[in-house]
Symmetry: C2
Subunit: 236 residues, 2 copies
């Protein structure tokens, strides 16, 4: 399983993804699920994936290959993030079709979900959730975040805290608490956590990794756990 | 959808269930999903159900009918709660089979899950989760609670708080917060909430209902929401 969160807020974009993959509890591995693309101060694009790992990796490989080959239509040549989402939707469904036609009776679920966020110079930051069917939705002022993967355990805290005007550092803190809640309740979501904190109009982005024993994350998780206990005890 | 929680703790048993049923978002209704059976100071049995409403109601009706007809094997004549669980598992699978054989190609999911808890005089309180296949598991000191229905949103707080030695009133408070989190994130779970707080060895039980505007629940939910916000702001 997987847990990824994306947000587009007034100050910029947050993306975060865990790195655990599993095919049964006895086949666990660590793989990145968060990817960034930067085109020299003109655009940044961040992707997070959940679902079938082979499908997700093929989508990322095709994106890179299109760029490397200087093809006419790549995520760097699209006029808008809407077009980027359309292109990714087409690559995703083609990949799913490719695998399922190769082994029609395998019973394997080849589908993936993608969060794609970013900014093109002169345009506002945007975030799209691309479904396995290739269609997609974008965030709004009322719903500024999307989750993919094992989303339910970590949703209540996002629902309570995240607004368009939440500052980026607070939003990141909230995302990490959401990961902590999810990892407490579901073994298939695990550290390290990859994340990007993108400041609007900076057009530059970097993935930061919180490792298994990251001191800030441990401190945050402990403060949150202890705080919940004492808050609970103070309730009427 | 539905959300039900059951716990067996040192002090006794907590059972709680919402009352919303839905067949699509345009077919919402209020039905009880928590039922109690009391046999004059000798045993109490509490049931909570999720899944197909017709199946759940048929199971309850058959239990009542067996008692009314003074049949040889009823939940009042079983020697142990283990046997009660076996009897309920048999009624459940027979009901699912009954409906699915009547309309084999309907595509309807006739399955239900049942939580059954209770105490027979001279025996300890117990709680079983009966699966749609009729098999079941009981709680342990390490895992003293079960959930059925829309369980994920409300699980993190239970994971953090509930231990065998949690006092009944604290456990009930925790269950209500778990309901609050679930109702925040999922429209198909809704008030009123039915609940029982059973003190071990009392062999008497009563369902209490928290209505839509219950002042205690509103106060608790507000205190929890406000407390989460201020706890969040204090985090490092």
């Amino acid at each position: 399983m997987t847990y990824c969160v994306g947000m587009v807020l007034d100050e910029g974009i947050i993306m975060a993804a865990d790195t655990r993959t599993n095919a049964g509890v006895d086949a666990i591995a660590t793989f990145p699920k968060l990817f960034t693309f930067e085109n020299s101060g003109e655009r940044v694009i961040m992707l997070a994936t959940s679902g079938n790992l082979a499908t997700s990796q093929r989508v990322i490989s095709i994106i890179k290959q299109q760029i490397a080959r200087n093809e006419e239509k790549t995520i760097y040549t699209c006029d808008s993030l809407f077009q980027v989402a359309e292109l990714l939707g087409a690559i995703l469904t083609a990949t799913e079709k490719h695998y399922s036609e190769e082994s029609p009776s395998s019973g394997v679920d080849f589908s993936s979900n993608i969060l794609v966020a970013g900014q093109i110079k002169g345009q506002p930051p945007e975030l799209y959730h691309i479904y396995p069917q290739g269609n997609f939705i974008s965030t709004s002022r009322d719903t500024p975040f999307f989750q993919i993967g094992e989303s339910k355990y970590g949703k209540p805290i996002l629902d309570r805290i995240i607004r368009m005007d939440t500052p980026l550092n607070q939003a990141m803190k909230c995302a990490l608490i959401s990961f902590d809640s999810t990892m407490h309740s579901n073994l298939s979501v695990g550290m390290p956590i990859d994340m990007t904190i993108y400041k609007a109009d900076s057009l530059a982005v970097k993935i930061e990794r919180l490792g298994v024993n990251d001191p800030y994350f441990s401190k945050l998780a402990k403060a949150w756990g202890d705080g919940l206990h004492s808050l609970f005890e103070q309730l009427p």
